[in-house]
Amino acid sequence: MSDSGAGIATSAAAWGLAPAVLLVAVVALLLAFGVAAVDRLVVSGAGSRAMWEPLRSGVRLMAEERRTTLAPDSLLWRLGCASVPVLALLSLAVVPLGGRTLLSTSADLVWFNAMESILWAAVWLVGWGPNAVHALTGGYRFLIQGLSYELPLMFSLITVGIGAQSLRATDVVAAQESLWFVLTMPVAFAVFLATAAAFAFWGPFASPAGVDVAGGVRSELSGVERLLVELGRAAFLGAAAAMATAAFLGGDAGPWLPGPVWQLVKTVGVVVLFVLIGRRLPVVRPERFVEVAWMVLIPLTLLQALVVAVLSLSGFYA
Amino acid sequence: MSAELVLQIVLTVAAALIGVGLFGALSQQSIVMIMMGFELALNGVLLAGGAAWYFFAPDRADAQMLVVVALVVMAVEMAMGFAAVIAAYRTRQVDMIDMAADLKG
């Protein structure tokens, strides 16, 4: 990958490969736990003790005996389950942590999008693997939702790229020194958050794992595999919150406090926003969302990109 | 390692992908599998295009455009292929090439 044009060295170059990878892994785990803990707190309303519940159930899943189904496609099933958390890690690799990214390419935003699209295959495999009807139904639902949210997500990321004049994540953060992108790109920000919930099939977009299909893609998961998928889902949501912070909320910029603290505060804020709004909305039926996405969200995000392009041409972001 | 040797290895891989893809497209009966053969051959074109950019003219974007065009060809082939499969299946329950032999001109 070309490093030229990057003003900031990657975290791997600055701190060594192993510490940098470890940092991304630890941050991913913390983000996943944060998402699950905030979710528990808000949903149960039982006070701070509820927040440790995800940790307990995670440990229990590790010890749980795996059950299986008749004639599963074990290879693809395991591959799908393992891919979900790995892809969450990989998408976090281009999010600036402490001002540096693990990978810095000339197309970081496209990398983030590509990892999310490989998730299509992973989630479908989680549904296909067990040879069970509810799981496969969940997999199909994810693909339908994917066809709806993918283009709005791309356009909102492209809008960020237009504003920053670069697809490199560290450049995007640097471009927001004077003005956070959320102020001129509110539509792209909202669409990014909504699509993040959709690719983590969470909140109003949870129908691939809906209760009406007995848990959908999750219905046949048990033990470590269930833990991997749940962890990956939460980590993806956390990675999306971190990306939203970097792409729209100025990354680690802020007065008085050191950068990483600001980044943490903003990321946690986005996670709380996710949970507070996402948990209050009913689950959207995928076939309804298709029309809304194609008739409303795509034109809106295109208009947003046009506005940002005109602003950018007029030197607004310079 | 000399640049030419690396180039030749990569192009040989591309040729192998094209060969395997051609075999698949010609030998499979199911229309979906035939499309997978074409995709595999185009995968070889992507690889060769990338190698051409890297080894011959990285100062120009022409080879990159070639890869873009190959990607677009894949997308178009896929979209039209599936649309044609649906149309054929809807009108006459055909999902295998040999069942539509009367379409041969």
Binding site: S2, G5, A71, D73, L75, T105, S106, A107, S117, I118, W120, Y140, L143, G146, L167, V284, R285, R288, F289, E291 | A3, V6, Q8, V13, A15, A16, L17, G19, V20, F23, L26, Q28, Q29, V32, L40, N43, L46, W53, F55, F56, A57, P58, D59, A61, Q64, M65, V67, V69, V72, M74, A75, V76, M78, A79, F82, A83, A84, I86, M96, I97
Partner: protein, 193 residues
């Protein structure tokens, strides 16, 4: 002239190349159509890796993105149209296998002979600082015409693909006199209309 690739990159290119061919062969060997589809995806992702080694970051990521989505959709179609998608009852669905193998092998041999006999013009090259910017400027500049044609072609594909795939026209949706206030669709959409 020595290559600009590091020893690691050369190794990665060779391994990923071998992997892409092996996965490509697996597409037509495995019984399960799901495995065939994802073997093809593995082949694409291996080529993506090679493109990353060649500094073509943007094209590599776009290849991974497009091909994964394509393969996921392909899996849906495969289950819709194949009689044995999971390969639980192995069957062969090939015709003229020997002739096809000859044509495939012939193409490979002809190309390979060319590849190893031609004196390739590999010389000193200047590398751009940023291949993504180079492509973007080409699309919006010297190669704009190609991009315009691609855009129109894709738009035509969307329209003709939808037209071919759907059997319902406006008379089915809005009635013979086109007077129905709401379309009569088998699956209702999400907008109030």
């Amino acid at each position: 002239m020595l290559t600009d690739l590091s020893a690691w990159a050369v190794t990665a290119v060779v391994v990923l190349g071998a992997l892409s061919v092996a996965a490509g062969i697996a597409v037509f060997v495995v019984d399960s159509m799901a495995r065939a589809t994802f073997a093809l995806l593995a082949s694409f992702l291996a080529v993506t890796g090679v493109l990353i080694a060649f500094d073509l970051d943007y094209l590599a990521f776009v290849t991974a993105l497009m091909m994964t989505i394509e393969m996921a959709i392909m899996a849906v179609f495969m289950i819709m149209f194949m009689m044995n998608p999971a390969g639980l009852m192995p069957m062969t669905m090939v015709h003229n296998a020997r002739g096809s193998a000859l044509v495939g092998a012939g193409a490979f041999v002809a190309l390979t002979v060319g590849i190893w006999t031609i004196d390739w013009p590999v010389g000193e090259v200047t590398r751009p600082a940023d291949s993504t910017r180079q492509l973007g400027e080409a699309i919006m500049g010297s190669h704009m015409l190609a991009m315009l044609v691609i855009g129109v072609g894709l738009f035509a594909t969307i329209i003709s693909g939808t037209l071919l795939a759907t059997a319902r026209g406006r008379y089915d949706r809005f009635g013979a006199d086109l007077r129905a206030a709401r379309p009569n669709d088998p699956v209702p959409g999400g907008l109030p209309r």
